[in-house]
Amino acid sequence: MGIGLLMLAGGVAAGLFGSLLGLGGGILIVPLLTIGFGLPLREAVGVSLVCVIVTSGAAAGVYLERRVANLRLGMTLELFTAIGALVGGLVAFLLSERILAALFSFMLVYVAVSMARGRAAEPDDDGSEAAEPTAQPFGLVLDGPGYGVRNLGRGVVGSLGAGVVSALLGIGGGLIKVPVMHLLMGVPLRVATATSNLMIGVTASASAIIYLLRGGIDPFVAGPTAIGVFLGASLGSRTAHRIDLRVLRLLFVAVLAWTAFEMIRRAIGMAT
């Protein structure tokens, strides 16, 4: 059972790091399972999707209770993330492991560079404009208290892309959804983050169903990993305010850079 404990501990670390840095655990679970435990990439993506659903579920409940997440906006956009995830989940079984590894390494490099440049805005940074109620198609009312939602069409396109990426790489897709909602649609960053978290469940489940029914999820791997990630994310959310994130961020960038290097080696066939 040593392997099981290691997997659980790895899940705790992935959930803890992800939670402390606001990235979710998905970005670390796939490398953990492929590089650390030798799982095929596609199987690791399936397990990662299960983990991101679990971690987002509890957090989304809290965000809704506190009325931070915009349920109406989240549901409207997740219709399109789910469509993207359905397509991505089917495409994932058509692509080779090497192409998936290349896509994953691109994503890791992007995140590492973004974090190294410190481009991510702080949660209190409210880039939205207090707006008049915004008219949406089909009589939808998506505005929240103190902000209007604009550019729904761009949000739909971004959501489709986020769904495809989530299904292919086993991540929550917040890397795309949060900037789209905040920068293009005028949603305050705190609300965009919470709403993105709310959307993860439906998005990831649309593709996790495909992985599950097509044999892409091993229950013996998913069980310990999901529990570990859940525990790590819970611990992270309780300790984030006590930790100096600057050092952690640098460490994380180094981990991402090394992981990207390993994934690139897999993509070009230098590692299995």
Partner: protein
């Protein structure tokens, strides 16, 4: 005066997400405990999903039974959240959001159909 209805709906959805998540984790934890008890390793490769065996596996306290049930709870909880929202929007007569909720459930149903249809 929509605020109270909105509060009720969001509270119901939040409760469902919390209960669903903790129930999933509890089932997975039982499955992992059964793995430990039976000396199974995560690298042993668990059996594929077979709904016809689920009841028998759970009755026999086999780890895969609890793990698969936990995984089903994980995957079904978001759909349950959408169904709860649908019921709330229908009660309030919010037709646009009810249509959105129905369409989301259709996409998820399509995922199930596509997965079954493309199984090897």
């Amino acid at each position: 005066m929509r605020a109270p209805a909105t509060d009720d709906l969001e509270r119901s959805v939040a409760r469902l997400l919390t209960v669903g998540t903790y129930a999933s984790i509890a089932l997975l934890a039982v499955g992992v405990a059964a793995m430990v008890a039976t000396g199974r390793s995560p690298l042993d490769h668990g059996p594929g999903f077979d709904p016809t065996r689920l009841g028998a596996d759970i009755a026999a306290l086999r780890p895969e039974g609890f793990l698969w049930l936990g995984l089903l709870f994980v995957v079904a909880t978001p759909s349950g959240r959408v169904a709860t929202s649908l019921r709330g929007y229908l009660r309030r007569g919010d037709r646009p959001m009810a249509v959105v909720a129905i369409l989301i459930l259709c996409v998820i149903a399509l995922s199930v159909a596509a997965a079954i249809g493309t199984q090897a």
